[in-house]
Subunit: 365 residues, 2 copies
């Protein structure tokens, strides 16, 4: 293992697994012991394949490794693309002893995990997330799935990986917007549950934006550990786990409005967290100073602070109505009781939500 | 409850559920206590809807019940049809608190169960199987899924229902070929594990073919109990459960060759069981008398005893090679050590399998 490396174990009883985090792990770590059969299929996309497919294939010495290369982008996170994975598995006659390997960002991870959950009613899978966002989000929790034209992530399954390998070097090849988008999810962990981590982020944002490996390993480790704590309490999203969706209800509305993939998921979540913080402030949970800290940390991460200019309050209300957290028609949101403490509630005056939407939507419908 | 009624509990710890079996249950039993939220969506097809949809809707007093009507047939057991269920759920804004209700045969049960497994990563479902085959097969085991052009049931999930309601009266409205097809699976339970039940079937086949309710409730109860015993030992198909596939490897080859839906699943399994018995006889497990008993009981159930005339041994070998039971390329079959005792093995001379195929295939390629 390289000098800068840490291992986090996600404790889920007999489905526990390690997350290996380090600089230069891809190509140096041997993952073959995590492949139970003789064969594996690496699923990646046309952007990632030229960069990392060869090194990923070399991570499984002694195994027969096939690959399938999908088109790149959130708009391909649908059944048609998922079916390309099933086609490859069946054409190459992979049995239920096979292992799927997700090599790419969140879209690849979600689709590969869902394919693994469904192929012959369930095969094993391994994750090699290559974007910061997928490293701190998809590595823990077992959520997999695809989009439906009427809603994001509406079709999916819970399916846990055998191992997750995170090589911080992969961030060097990302388009410039991807790093801030990933940092939005990192900041989220500080806001919902870890006030000390939020302070650490305020102090280390410059190091993270310059891809300092020591800082990056630390940020990923603490983010994954925070999510693992929450998921250990609530694996199937009965209660506490919903706090991980801070900013996501507003954010999903932005993503649906603009069409999947126009805004990056993390960008939409960043703006969504700010909107949630604004509402929390209007409800008297956060002080004006707290809200200003949220603005500053998002700004220092390079994130957008406003939704699309042509989006109206009614667009938000309509698109937020189909959120999975809603119970019996009532809109439920993740809000901040304080910085570092989230709460899930539908107990707020609609008037306050409308004030927040009016503040962020320049155009009134 | 009517006079002729029994309840079987499938014991799966905290996912245990009852199977209610009786004459005239549909419309008289109240299933609303099994719906945890306020809403349900009944999934059925255009053949079953005019017969039973109104009565099924009336089985959930106090709940808001929607329905979606799919085209009828195994050839629609695919993603496009499955998506009609997701469309209905999302258009009507069903949340993750909803319950799906499968009203129909095995295709409806498999697709509805898979939709329930995947919608918002898992919602509850209830089964009301209306064919004998689905009553004795899909009621127990939690297998759900759809077909892929390259293989049957290749995409799916394990997902257990809240309750199963079986009304034997629904068999009166079935096309004539459906009853023998269902009896094939009933006979299967006798052959693989219940020699006393096999004798009971030999004595009561006439009563079953005339739809005698007492005999039918008994046959369904004993079939479901046998399958529940096997599944309790092996919920996710590591070992024992594979014996439930007696006749299925040969049968799937017939179904794939003829195109899904030309042969009924039970018809193909019936012929497949005879082929497996023939091979078991050639291997010295069964006597000639045993084999003759298998022939007679399948014949008395009204089942076909030969595969399609234009199917060659090579067709069988090619189509059997993709079976899910195969491990690392070796063909595994369910065979009979004796009548009432099945074994899963790949330990047989290929020569003997070829003799069986030659015996059943009139045309040599």
């Amino acid at each position: 293992m390289p000098d800068v490396a840490r291992t986090l174990t996600v404790d889920l009883g007999d489905r526990s697994y390690p997350i290996l985090i380090g600089q230069g792990l891809l190509g140096s770590a041997d993952l073959s012991s995590y492949v139970k059969g003789d064969r594996a299929l690496i699923v990646t996309n046309e952007t990632v394949a030229p960069l990392y497919l060869e090194r990923a294939t070399g991570s499984f010495p002694g195994k027969a490794v096939d690959s399938v290369v999908l088109p790149d982008g959130e708009r391909y996170k649908n059944w048609e693309t998922l079916n390309l994975i099933f086609d490859a598995l069946l054409e190459k006659r992979h049995t239920r002893k096979t292992t799927l390997v997700a090599l790419g960002g969140g879209v690849i991870g979600d689709m590969t995990g869902f394919a693994a959950a469904c192929y012959q009613r369930g095969v094993q899978f391994i994750q090699i997330p290559t974007t910061l966002l997928s490293q701190v989000d998809s590595s823990v929790g077992g959520k997999t799935g695809i989009n439906h034209p009427l809603g994001k992530n509406m079709i999916g399954a819970f399916h846990q990986p055998e191992v997750v390998l995170i090589d911080t070097d992969t961030q060097g090849s990302l388009p410039p917007r991807e790093l801030p988008a990933g940092l939005a999810e990192v900041i989220k962990y500080g806001l919902i549950r870890e006030p000390a981590f939020l302070e650490w982020l305020e102090d280390n944002m410059a190091a993270l934006r310059s891809l300092d490996a020591v800082a990056m390993v630390e940020a990923i480790y603490r983010s994954c550990a925070c999510k693992a704590d929450v998921v250990a309490v609530d694996e199937k999203e009965g209660g506490l786990r919903a706090i991980l969706n801070l900013g996501h209800t507003f954010g999903h509305a932005i993503e649906t409005f603009t069409g999947y993939g126009t805004w990056l998921h993390g960008e939409a979540v960043g703006t969504g967290m700010l909107m949630a913080a604004d509402l929390s402030c209007r409800l008297g949970y956060l002080s004006a100073d707290d809200l200003e800290r949220v603005v500053r940390v998002l700004q220092s991460a390079g994130l957008p602070l406003e939704p699309p200019a042509d989006m109206t309050p009614e667009d938000f209300l309509r698109l937020m109505a189909v959120d999975k957290k809603n119970v019996d028609g009532a809109l439920r949101l993740v809000l901040l009781e304080s910085l570092g403490k989230a709460v899930v509630t539908s107990d707020f005056p609609t008037q306050k939500l409308e004030e927040t939407l009016a503040r962020f939507c320049s155009r009134v419908s």
